[in-house]
Symmetry: D2
Subunit: 406 residues, 4 copies
């Protein structure tokens, strides 16, 4: 077992990470530094202070990272129209690099030689935390208690709490969700419980951030998003910070039943898992970003972005945000966004996001050329013949030599 | 001007292609063969016979190609989860190769040396028809009247009709949609009119195949699709042919407000254009196919398919269905589908398609490994440490040598 | 420590795997089955029998797999013009899947529950052996002694031999190469020793399969390769089996100083390593295969293959030959090769392979079109204008709207 | 026929473009501006002045663009290890964008409304010139005489000269190469003549820039290249400008028989053509750049570059240097090169370029980890087990459920 001096723990203030804090103190005889961040998970972070203090922890970091999270992680990711496996908006994945970065920075500030987190040994999050930490501070030690200890059942955990005087809110434990959940400003996720049967439909009672489409208002809501360099900077004409944009869209999206997703996904560690996600604001952002790009991006740039996107999504899903290859791709993606400016008007209605209009000073849409009416010579239809003939040439030669298509 | 003996015309029976038939006879002094196909556009094809006969046409082909269309074109395309530019389900694009193939086959049967079509010189369809024709019969001549004649306004067209005794249904002309439309079993499309302003929302009255989400039933409809090798073979337990599957899904999808799309797309000929599409059945198929694949496909196969898809979609959109590169990709895609078997239960509600469940004898989902509960040793969490450490190694080395990530 | 019944060992007959055989017997108290294959490494395999018998091993497999190796592994790989990191012809990588497959088959035949190999914990080969074994027989146990034991120096190994009466040919040990080497019909590799300094030039004395370009004959050798479906089936008009083709090309290539390579490569386990390789026949095959493809493949098929190749090479290098994604890609690659037939004439001279000619019944080269002389109308130069105009359209529109290229 | 005011002609000073100059004056009754650039083609450019003056041309541009050519076009391209169709170093392709840019700039300076060039209607160069011109100045007119006039034989051209008093150097015409050639600092190319038979070996007498490997010195030459940010900045310790670097490498490469290539390539206009190329310096640059990257680039960055390269090469070959997609990719490529610093020692010998050593302050090669000797714990071999186990997990699950690999 590694000898540790001081460890920075990603601490939620909840029961599991409280047990971890105690277990680290006891197992490694080391100092523990707690780090609790508000990334929009919707729970108070301040109460974590008292809990940490109660365990004798002296260095306690509690931070509001919402703006940084959306500005430096969520928005750059949406510039690429990023989706994993055709469906997943990467709500959990994108929050991890920021946590990893802060853990390392706090380790540097406090002279800690290790970090620790509460992710299990079966999931993607351990990978994301640890790849990030190793990439930013190669000599760091990582303690992943769920991979080490034997407290692998609720009963053993409770026994540990009793033994170590960790206060348990039994009322809360009883009403605890049967699902494993994770939330931040971009989404809330659900795993486990009946979801472990992919044929079982998710219960209505599970969802927390959105009303069902059935329960959403009977009249649509229209919202206008203003883009600058690929990011939303204003809603309905009102300038907003990145986090405020996402909070606003979550609210209006959730109220209109938008952003529920139920998928089976492939984890980086090699297994399939069922997950349900609510991403109201992100769902709107993806649709709207494609709309403003459709007007402003060159065709080949757009296609190149589409071709690169699955690889970029894999990088983020698998935990390689902090990698030179992600940064290299980001350079190309960001370069494409300088012209992605303008307005998108979206209609939100009972689960649907549809585009009601898009306009831009940087529009490449040319109605004089596109028109079905007389275009006054803007486009010479005769050019099409040569275009087709030469594009067909290789196939005409092949067919002329008897080559068959089957 | 090329000298022609006989030309096979893709003939809808409508006014434009009637003018073309006459114009071909007159301009080229050649025989015209008409070819009219039912590919599910929702209009009777038999009336085309009398109209052709009235113009003195002797060789008249009228065919029901709906099954062939869905079985050999639509279904293979959906095996790849094909979408163009992130949104478009390629409803128009995928119908063209079948028409091109039949035009060439009929030219071979009738001894014709040319084909003709009614697509304009600004669009993608001319490219799709002609690339297909050249690839299948390299010596064929192609007559594209819209690129040649000077009948480039409604007025001139009408004058031509009057002059040449082509009967015009003036009542129909008056109530004519202001949109340029195209329909087949997969979709109906709208272009032109007010859509030429990308900021203008499409009018409710434009849409023909679906009710609006607002007007759809207040209770959801559940449908179970059964897949074999990536294709739907039964709905709600009832075996169906490919065309029947799509017809059924169009009906139930359209009734639930599903499949409307409003986009600005990039044409192969180089301009942006605004299009609206209704693809009720296709929208359900795409979502359901991803769901059955999520359970049955290996992760890397799925990711490889996602990486190849944009290129495959471009091939179809640009008119390269009849090309060796499309066929090469299809081999890989089809190979992946042998295991894509099972059931998907979808919920349709006011424009939303959501997945209520998926199950398969070929499922790779392993609940014993994925579970949050005790997995009885099926998965060794300790393996994750080595997995992460070696995946991080290149970045640890780089960081250790002072390489910075920015 | 796992309890084992019987283990199949990839046994070279050399000292290291002899120690492993003994160590397995002693450590796991299990039966050992040895498997020794001739894959063209250039050493007798039969002597392994007596050595194994001397250790009391009863089930001894000695096999000549040269034809299978070239036919089912080397040739399919060369159909894709496969190179890793722009240089490496994957000589070691491609031999591992065959060994893994036979280890698993022998485990099935002999009722063994484990396999073992002599690859170290730092290299790629452990990964290739084990991924293959797990993919083909998921419940198999794998014993990798170099990752388990503490015999991690030459001294300890020798002490173990003495202690366990493993005969050591001290004469041979003394003249032992300072390099770690691996050979099969495709190549021989060198690592370690002075090569661990990337600035140090490899010594002439290291190379075993080829003369130096300086020492090669002063007159060139011409060889004509005949291809069928992408594979060489005859040399200079004489039909040959796959292994004979490669043996012949190794001989003539080596004699002409062809196929030496000195690179720094990136291992799958995360580190860079320096390797030197001699691949005389493979170097000729790659050049010649590109030449016959240049004449017979459609342009877009060729470009698609080039785009897929780096991913395919990664699969093989990283050990995923036995994976559904490699098989899926192979389907597309093999589909492209049906037309890759004809002759290539290569000139070999002092390290150079150059193409002296290529011809094919399936050639798509059309001299009537390609000619600089009068082509009698086979190609209409005027088509080029439309081709260029429409390909430029998107950029003309952008520039017309003031969009700048920097 | 378009009405022209003034046209800028890419003027070599040779017979063909002299005819074009006259033909433009006569056919369009317009002023002609000549533009003659030294891009290292190895011929004097100054004599073009007198020839242009003799035709009454008043605005004559003669420029030495060698440094700009190598610095802004050749070097950026080599940062991507760019090769078209596995072989071609793009020597012709990369010179065209610079010419197109200068033609447009001169049109802007002189108030010309058109440009003209001497490329034929069958080749790639017309496309490259014109796409570049349209992208940089969308309203420009392009006159491509070879697509317009009827002077399509040597005889007609000569008759035109006689008729228009264009002086013909008959001595030179007689000894004219039977090949169509193009040269710049990166390469010289040959097409036509006996090369139109792909089975015919190129004659020794054709090659102009390099001695044959047979005729090259019997002792090798060693050269050390120093890289900064992916570009060579010094040779054998002597700082050099970009053009000087390439000139020097051409000289030493050519003297050692390096850089001859004989291929059949696929033109963008749809036909296959046979070309021979001499690229002595470029051949050295490609090999050396890969070597310095092998030491300094992260693995995934290198692989991503390899995956993107074929697309990037297509862009350049097809004439899309001046496009937003090429610029987007360049951003990613250039970003990767900040660490590509150090020295590469190459050995040149009778046609061979081999790497004798590479070293860098930015090396990621870690001999403490890579070593076959005891690494003192720098790498934990046990990590490999978990790495392999989890990478195998998806395949173990599949095989465990009976999924077969064939």
């Amino acid at each position: 077992m590694a000898s540790l001096k001081k460890v920075v723990l990603a601490y939620s203030g909840g029961l599991d990470t409280s047990v971890i804090a105690k277990w680290l103190q006891e197992t490694y005889q080391c100092e523990v530094v707690t780090f609790t961040a508000d990334i929009g998970q919707g729970e108070e972070v301040e109460p974590a202070r008292a809990k940490a203090q109660a365990m004798g922890i002296k260095e306690i970091y509690i931070e509001d990272l919402r703006e940084e999270f959306v500005r430096d992680y969520v928005f750059p990711m949406f510039r690429a129209n990023t989706i994993y496996e055709g469906e997943y908006l990467l709500g959990t994945s994108i929050a991890r690099p920021l946590i990893a970065k802060r853990l390392v920075e706090i380790a540097n500030e406090t002279g800690a030689d290790a970090i620790s987190h509460g992710a299990t040994g079966k999931g993607n999050d351990q990978v994301r935390f640890e790849l990030g930490a190793y990439a930013l501070k190669p000599g760091i030690k990582v303690i992943a208690p769920w991979r080490e200890w034997d407290l692998n059942s609720r009963e053993k955990l409770m026994a540990y709490c009793e033994e170590h005087n960790i206060p348990v809110d039994f009322a809360k434990q009883k009403t605890k969700s049967p699902y494993s959940m994770d939330a931040n400003l971009l989404h809330i996720s659900y795993e486990g419980g009946i979801l472990e049967d992919p044929w079982a439909e998710a219960e209505e009672g599970m969802w927390r951030w959105s009303v069902s489409p059935e329960a959403a208002p009977d009249t649509p809501t229209y919202v206008t998003l203003t883009y600058e360099k690929g990011d939303v900077v204003a809603i309905d004409g009102k300038a907003m910070t990145p986090a405020t944009v996402l909070e606003h869209l979550n609210k209006v999206g959730g109220a209109n039943g938008i952003g529920r997703l139920d998928i089976v996904e492939n984890r980086y560690v090699g297994m399939k898992s069922r997950g349900c996600y609510e991403t109201p604001g992100g769902t709107i952002l993806l649709k709207a970003h494609r709309a403003i790009e459709s007007l402003t991006l060159d065709r080949e740039v757009a296609h190149l972005k589409d071709a690169l996107m699955p690889r970029y999504a894999e990088m983020i899903y698998n935990g390689y945000w902090w990698s030179p290859e992600r940064q290299m791709l980001q350079k190309a993606i960001d370069d494409s966004q300088t012209v992605v400016n303008g307005d998108v008007r979206v209609k939100l209605y009972k689960g649907n996001v549809s585009i009601a209009g898009r306009r831009s000073e940087d529009s490449l849409f040319d109605d004089k050329i596109a028109t079905f009416e007389d275009d006054a010579g803007a486009y010479n239809q005769k050019d099409a013949e040569g275009f087709i003939k030469l594009n067909a040439l290789r196939m005409r030669i092949a067919a002329g030599k008897g080559r068959k298509l089957s």
